[in-house]
Symmetry: C2
Subunit: 189 residues, 2 copies
Amino acid sequence: MHPQLLNNISNYIKLTPEEKSLFETFWTEKKLEKGDYLLRNGEVCRTDNFVIYGTLKAFYINPIKGKEEILYFAIDDWWATDMESFQKQSPSIYNIQAIEDTKLLQIHFNSFQEMLNRIPKLERFFRIILENYLGSLQRRIILNNVYNAEQRYFDFLETYPKIAEKVPQYLIASYLGVSPEFISRIRKK
Amino acid sequence: MHPQLLNNISNYIKLTPEEKSLFETFWTEKKLEKGDYLLRNGEVCRTDNFVIYGTLKAFYINPIKGKEEILYFAIDDWWATDMESFQKQSPSIYNIQAIEDTKLLQIHFNSFQEMLNRIPKLERFFRIILENYLGSLQRRIILNNVYNAEQRYFDFLETYPKIAEKVPQYLIASYLGVSPEFISRIRKK
C-alpha cells in the first residue's frame, strides 16, 4: 500500500508494525482520470477516500441559479468522502469529481467498521481529523456571511495556498460564490 | 454527576463500572441563567460543554448587516462548544449565550486530553458524534444555497422539531437568514 496515509496517521498516533500491516490489508488503491466521478448525488458513498495525489471537487447543482457550486476541494493528503452518506449509508446530496488525474486509497464501509474494531487506536486519529474539519467548516459558514467577496478571496489564499495554486480560478470563484470576472479584477489590483 | 451524559454515551459504547466512575471525576456541573454568556468572541473556549437542560445560541455579529446571526442552537443532550477554539486553544470567533436557564456538564481542555488517554474507548464516542455533526453542517451549507427561504424553514421544522418548539421565532429567523415577518407570513398560510 502507498505509505502516504500511514505517514499522515503517524503525525497523530503511534501504530505498532503489526497494526500497520493489518491496517494496510483494509485499503485499496484507485485511480481516477480527469473528469471521472467518485460519487454522484443520489448514490450511496460506499467508501472513505484518502487522496494520495490529484484534485477533486465536491459540488452540487444550485437549481435556483442553474449552475454548480463547490462545497470543497480535496488535494493530496486530504479526504474526499461525503461523511453523512458514508456514515448512514444513505444517498448523497452532492457529487465528487476528479478535476485532474487522481490516485486514492479507499476503504469500504464494512471494512472501515472492522478496521476500527480491530485497531481501536485509530479512533483517535479519526476523531482529531474530524475536529479539524469541523472547525474549518464552522469558520467557513461564519466568514461567508461576515466577509465581503474580496476578504473571502484573500482568506481562501491564506488558508488554502496549495489549493489556490492547483485549482482553476473559475472553480475558486464557484467555491467563494463570486463571479470569475470578480477574481480577475482583484488579481489585477 | 448527572447521569444524562453517561446515558447518552451508552448509546454508542459500553463502559465498565470502573470506567464510568473514572469518567465522572473529570466533569463538573455548571448553571447559567438566561442571558449569561458561556463564551464571548475573542476568548478561548476552555471547556467542552454538554447540555443537561436549557437552550443556548451560538452567534456572531455580522458587521455588514450590523446584526447578530445564529450559527447553531444547543438544547438538552447537545454540545455547546466552539470546537476550533477548544481544540487549538485559540480565540473564538463567535459567542455562546444561554437564552433560558441552562445546566451544563463541563470538562476542561487538559482534563479532556487526560480523560481520553485514560479511557481510550471514549475516542469512538467522540468520533461518531463528530461525524454526525459534520454531516449535518455540510448538509446545511448546501441547503442554505439550494433551498429558498420557505423550504429552509420547513426543513428546519422537520430536522429540529425540538428546537423549533423551544426557540423564539425571531431567533429561528436569524438562523435561517430570513426576516421574522417572513416566518410569521409562512405560519399564517
